[in-house]
């Protein structure tokens, strides 16, 4: 059982967040406790998306559910918790189906993490706009993905 006392768990969601540090009381209002200043802008951007209305894109996309917003917040906090520095802030935007996406560009490398409407998280790694790899993102994979994004260029690459 996780030490964090008030986290609600989304059952059936493969993305499992890292074990949260002990916080004596997290409160009911869902205010987001921060461990790094890096997370401030992305969290604000996620919370802003929570107020998108139905059909915000003109194509009938639904507004973004509380569950997706919460999952995106957890994802941002988990990225922050990796402590990989420096890491630029991601672009935070809505997806057409009612999810939230985080996108990074660093040189030729790009990484996207999409929180889907069902709460699952998927990633796409790209180089110079060409997708290299995609799939379900897990907390364990997160470090590898972000490290790749900020890491040195592979000298073996053509």
């Amino acid at each position: 059982m996780i030490a964090a006392e008030t986290s609600a768990t989304l059952t059936g969601v493969p993305y499992a967040t890292s074990p949260a540090p002990f916080i004596p009381y997290e409160g009911l209002s869902g205010d987001v406790i921060l461990e790094s200043t890096w997370a401030i802008s992305p969290i604000r951007a996620v919370l802003e998306l929570a107020s998108l209305p139905e059909n915000w894109d003109g194509y009938g996309s639904p507004s973004i559910s509380v569950e997706v917003v919460n999952q995106a917040i957890r994802l941002v906090l988990d990225v922050a918790r990796l402590g990989i520095d420096p890491l630029p802030e991601p672009f935070v935007g809505p997806t057409a189906g009612g999810g939230i996406i985080l996108e990074w560009n660093l040189g030729k490398r790009e990484l996207s993490l999409s929180v889907l409407p069902d709460g699952m998280v998927e990633h796409v790694k790209s180089d110079s706009g060409e997708p290299l790899e995609e799939g379900q993102a897990t907390w364990a994979l997160l470090r590898e993905l972000v490290s790749w994004l900020v890491g040195p260029t592979d000298p073996r690459a053509a």
């Binding site: 998108l52 894109d57 672009f91 999810g99 996108e103 560009n105 996207s112 990633h123 796409v124 790209s126």
Partner: protein, 143 residues
């Protein structure tokens, strides 16, 4: 409109330009091109609505957006480019929009476009070149 029987329509040729309306929240800077790009999230859906440019006008598409309460910029790519990503393009005319078409996955039309497909639509497309003359009767040319 959701349908169970999407099929690629060969009457939409590969060179046909397709337009997708993009709202401001989906626009993000592209550092590689030093221009405004589009978030991959704009294409992460099961049935991607587009318009066949040759069968409508930019003004009509933009007006459709306005009727739906949004301001669009038009992102364009060709039907052939979409097909090369493993997608199919099928007509889905609407009562007020006969040029409406839908892009779905060729391998699994009911499923959301793969992240890589959405990413590539954001990469291979470009902003439609649209000029609107001032005045009450706007004329639009696509250059």
């Amino acid at each position: 409109m959701a349908r169970p029987n999407w099929a690629d329509d060969p009457s939409i040729p590969d060179e046909a330009i397709l337009w997708r309306g993009i709202v401001s929240r989906q626009i993000r800077p592209n550092p590689r091109t030093q221009t405004d790009g589009v978030s991959q999230g704009a294409f992460e859906t099961q049935e991607l609505s587009v318009n066949v440019a040759a069968e409508t006008t930019a003004a009509a598409v933009l007006a459709k957006g306005k009727r739906r309460g949004v301001e669009w910029r038009l992102w364009e790519f060709t039907a052939g480019q979409a097909r090369s990503l493993g997608l199919i393009v099928d007509r889905d005319p609407e009562s007020d929009d006969p040029s409406h078409a839908v892009i779905v996955r060729a391998d699994a039309p009911g499923l959301r476009l793969r992240g890589s497909q959405a990413k590539q639509l954001a990469e291979i497309g470009r902003w439609a070149s649209v000029s609107i003359s001032p005045g009450p009767s706007s004329t639009v040319s696509v250059g």
